[in-house]
């Protein structure tokens, strides 16, 4: 354990609220006064911080978690398949998970977490959306619905409902953040949800007078922009007291210099700074592999390598804080079982999810395997959904995030937890 880590540990919430200056590591020198002055909760009592990573474009669950013992998998994907660890031919192969499923070799960064029991895999999971449209499927998931329908309610996101239901006096302005330019639908309508493109660049230009003009201009009205403006000013005040530019990840964590790597590094920073972060939402696009998706190398492999290495760096960086952190990786749908003429895969149905964290009952693949037999496929040849994605999210919120009524976030769900979390 590095020295820096120990001192994060010793920072109790009460000490920070008292404004006790602990000194030590340079980057956090400004934190205590920030929290003392602003007077918001530094840590949600007894709850985890939830980090959601959304893979946009429909990640190919069958190659991310290949069912290497299912002969149909190899038959329907002659060029794209990942080799079984039992094959004698040379070459890169699937990392074995449980003797039936494997992990794409480009996710090697996450393999130790799985082996240590801190990462669970759910296979054949998804929504009830049948349109196979990115936008419908994403909208349904981000709103926490089984599916959208014509004229279906386009209300707020599932994380927004969670935030609104659990909101309290004195919540942090950084209670929920999306690292990116745009507010994702999952957080849409959530109290104090902010989209932050880059913590290091989150600085207001101009002098004090300009700042005061903004405070005045955004002070009164209640439309969406005025409210967002006030939130932005509060976040500016908080971040101005921190020094993200000087932040160094705890060795040996090494983030890839990718958008996802940078985003997770910022989440780690906010976690350690104890600014009351409860929900972080990140996304990574590019999963719509219709053409030349590759196998152990190529397009999909490159995306997975980034996901694996970024999350591995994040878990290493936050160290013991992983015990109070849950990470969920999800995507809007999986892809067609058989490969197409462009050596890619078209939109399908079920995909996979990952849940990681200190309280995850990991080292196991959850979910019923519907098999890839012709008569078990859905529609034109898609893996059937056997686990409702809301059962996974619902378990996270109720077991780790202090949600008492699951109905407030997932209306109408007959919740069947998988037992993923301790």
């Amino acid at each position: 354990m590095q020295e820096g880590c120990d001192s994060y540990q010793s920072w109790s919430r009460r000490a920070i609220l008292r404004g006790a200056a602990l000194g030590g590591v340079a980057w956090m020198a400004g934190i205590p006064s920030a929290l003392a002055n602003l007077g918001f909760r530094a840590q949600p009592d007894g709850r985890d911080t939830l980090v959601v990573v959304f893979l946009r474009g429909g990640a190919d669950g069958l190659n991310v978690v290949p069912p290497y013992l299912d002969d149909d998998y190899h038959r329907r994907r002659p060029s794209l398949r990942i080799r079984s660890p039992k094959e004698s031919a040379a070459g890169t192969k699937t990392l074995d998970l449980d003797g039936f499923f494997g992990l794409h070799p480009s996710l090697a960064g996450l393999y130790p977490l799985y082996r240590e029991g801190k990462m669970a895999v759910i296979q054949a999971v998804g929504s009830a959306d049948q349109t196979r449209s990115h936008f419908e499927a994403m909208s349904a998931m981000e709103r926490g619905l089984a599916r959208l329908g014509p004229g279906s309610d386009t209300s707020n996101g599932w994380l927004a409902r969670y935030l609104n239901h659990t909101a309290q006096e004195g919540d942090s302005p950084l209670r929920a953040v999306a690292i990116g330019d745009l507010m994702p639908d999952s957080l849409r309508g959530g109290l104090s949800a902010m989209a932050l493109p880059d913590l290091g660049a989150f600085r207001l230009r101009g002098d004090r007078a300009f700042r005061e003009r903004l405070t005045e201009a955004y002070g009164s009205s209640n439309d969406a922009i005025a409210t967002a403006g006030r939130e932005t000013l509060r976040v500016l005040d908080t971040l101005n007291r921190l020094d993200y530019a000087g932040y160094r990840a705890t060795a040996p964590a090494a983030y890839p210099s990718s958008d996802l790597g940078n985003a997770l590094k910022q989440v780690a920073f906010l976690l350690k700074a104890e600014v009351g972060l409860e929900v972080a939402f990140l996304d990574k696009g590019g999963w719509d592999t219709h053409v030349a998706q590759g196998s152990t190398t190529g397009w999909l492999a490159g995306l997975l390598e980034d996901v694996g290495n970024s999350l591995a760096a994040f878990t290493a960086d936050i160290g013991p804080r992983l015990g109070k952190t849950t990470v969920v990786v999800m995507t809007e749908f999986g892809r067609r079982v058989y490969e197409n003429s462009g050596l890619g895969t078209d939109h399908g149905r079920a995909s996979c999810m990952f849940v990681m964290g200190g309280s995850t009952r990991g080292g196991k693949v959850y979910g019923d395997w519907p098999t890839l037999a012709d008569d078990k496929l859905e529609g034109t040849g898609d893996l059937r959904v056997t686990t409702d994605y809301r059962d996974v999210l619902g378990e996270v919120l109720t077991r780790r995030m202090g949600l008492d009524q699951i109905d407030t976030v997932f209306p109408g769900l007959r919740h069947r937890p998988l037992g993923l979390l301790g």
Binding site: R56, G57, Q130, T131, R132, S133, H134, F135, E136, P150, A178, G180, D181, L182, M183, R188, G189, M194, A195, L196, P197, A201, F202, L204, R205, G206, A209, F210, R213, L214, A217, Y218, S221, D223, A224, I225, A226, T227, A228, G229, T232, L236, G285, G286, D288, H290, V291, Y338, E339, N340, S341, G342, G344, D346, H347, G379, T380
Partner: protein, 462 residues
């Protein structure tokens, strides 16, 4: 310097800002324009300003100084008549500005010798220049709509080298024409064929990417009445629609390859497409979907919402009927929207970053080259042009953009203080802002007033 050569007085009045950039570095002309400013000339946001201000913020990219007065004198109908029937691809001043850009002069083969980043910058530069300075403002607004409707992510594959042709031959060519013609052009655009993978759609196991988005995003809408089976059948119809890549042939053009076309019979939305149709299969599909009632509903809804936001619901059925009556005539569809009362009294619509940036530049009568420094601001606000990876185009809902206010504030500050390379304003021309920002009777206006105006909540709406 011969500033006004070849540009008549009317052009000067309508495109004063464009002309002023012709005289890059020539302060006198800018001052001439600025010197005539009156307080009511200054561009104000919808809720505070006159009817002319509101109209020009919604139908166009916001007024330049003096424009609301000219609009009021001219009248809305005459304004729309001239705006919706442009007499050329670009006005003369614009042609001059654009002539310096490689992407406007070169074919895609030549263009490929240039770095992708250079080509992207110039594509964006052209869009910004046109939006800020074109005298045909309404057309540029409509082009922004279609650019997002037929979104191309230029960073995918060779997209950057193909987007300029797509912009010209699909979007600009048909923006005020007939919708089915635009779909036809888009289906054969090398940028679209590459972006949505139809270039590798071959018989056997067809690639559904283009087929699905043609139905879902380009024509019928996701609840337009098609099934997964229809998507597969449409994909079969478009097998063999690819990009020319044979040895010694001009590249980046559409090619129909009969050898990879699936020539069997198909059934699309209940209509039989007989075997051996060849390239006609795809054309039949476009006819079927663009004549479909769902297409009229989907396109009219989206176009109305673009201009009017939620207030568009009342007018949408009329626009839908116009689509059906005219076979998708875009100008005819725009008329009921642009002449509706909701243009003046409807609830405000949030400006996307591109709208915001362009309307700010116009409000301050800024000179800009549209180059990298100003593009970086658009980036920071979350809307780098041609940079939206998914085929649905940049979002139009307010909540998508509420996280980017800081970038807008910083832009306002830097613009007013002349801190953006390649872009400048005349600080001596800001006097008329005083009464508008500080109230009647206030003398002059500081730079801070102008920055506060552009950064204000009101100016974020149109």
């Amino acid at each position: 310097m011969k500033r006004d050569s070849g540009i008549d007085r009317r052009q000067f009045l309508l495109g004063a800002a464009a002309v002023s950039t012709l005289a890059v570095g020539c302060a006198p002309l800018t001052q001439r324009v600025a010197g005539r400013r009156r307080a009511e000339d200054i561009s104000m946001p919808k809720r505070g300003g006159s009817e002319a201000h509101r109209f020009l913020h919604r139908a166009a990219f916001g007024p330049i100084p003096g424009e609301p007065r000219r609009f009021a004198e001219m009248g809305r109908d005459a304004y729309l008549k001239s705006q919706l029937h442009p007499t050329d691809d670009d006005d003369p001043a614009m042609k001059f500005l654009l002539s310096r850009l490689d992407v406007m002069r070169m074919g895609s083969a030549e263009l490929r010798d240039l770095p992708e980043g250079h080509v992207m910058r110039q594509l964006r530069q052209a869009a910004i220049l046109r939006a800020v300075y074109s005298q045909w403002q309404v057309r540029e607004r409509v082009i922004d709509f279609w650019t997002n409707h037929f979104n191309i992510f230029a960073h995918k594959g060779d997209g950057a080298y193909r987007k300029n042709i797509d912009d010209l031959m699909v979007v600009r060519q048909h923006a005020l024409g007939k919708f089915p013609d635009m779909v036809r052009a888009s289906a054969q655009s090398s940028a679209m064929l590459g972006y949505l993978d139809n270039q590798v759609n071959r018989k056997g196991v067809a690639n559904e990417n283009y087929a699905r988005e043609l139905l879902e995003l380009h024509t019928l809408g996701v609840y337009g009445g098609y099934t997964q089976k229809d998507v597969s059948e449409v994909a079969r119809c478009f097998t063999g629609w690819t990009i020319e890549n044979r040895f010694m042939r001009p590249r980046d053009r559409f090619r129909f390859d009969p050898n990879t076309h699936d020539d069997g019979e198909k059934l699309v939305l209940g209509q039989r497409i007989p075997a051996k149709g060849g390239i006609e299969d795809g054309n039949r599909v476009i006819d079927i979907v663009t004549r479909h009632p769902s297409c009229a509903k989907f396109i009219s809804t989206k176009l109305t919402r673009f201009f009017l936001g939620e207030a568009g619901e009342a007018i949408q059925p009329r626009v839908e009927q116009v689509y059906l009556d005219t076979g998708g005539d875009i100008v005819a569809m725009l008329m009921p929207i642009l002449t509706s009362d909701a243009m003046l009294d409807g609830p405000p619509v949030l400006k996307r970053p591109y709208d915001y940036l362009v309307s700010s530049l116009r409000a301050l009568d800024a000179q800009t080259d549209g180059g990298e420094p100003i593009q970086a601001h658009l980036d920071a606000m979350g809307q780098p042009l041609y940079g939206w990876p998914m085929p649905d185009g940049y979002p139009d809902r307010t909540t998508a953009w509420t996280g980017t206010l800081l970038a807008r504030w910083n832009f306002a500050h830097q613009l007013v203080n002349n801190e953006i390379g390649g872009t400048s304003i005349n600080p001596d021309g800001l006097a008329p802002y005083g009464p508008l920002v500080l109230g009647e009777g206030a003398d002059g206006a500081s730079l801070g007033d102008a920055a506060a105006l552009l950064a204000s909540p009101d100016f974020q709406w149109r």
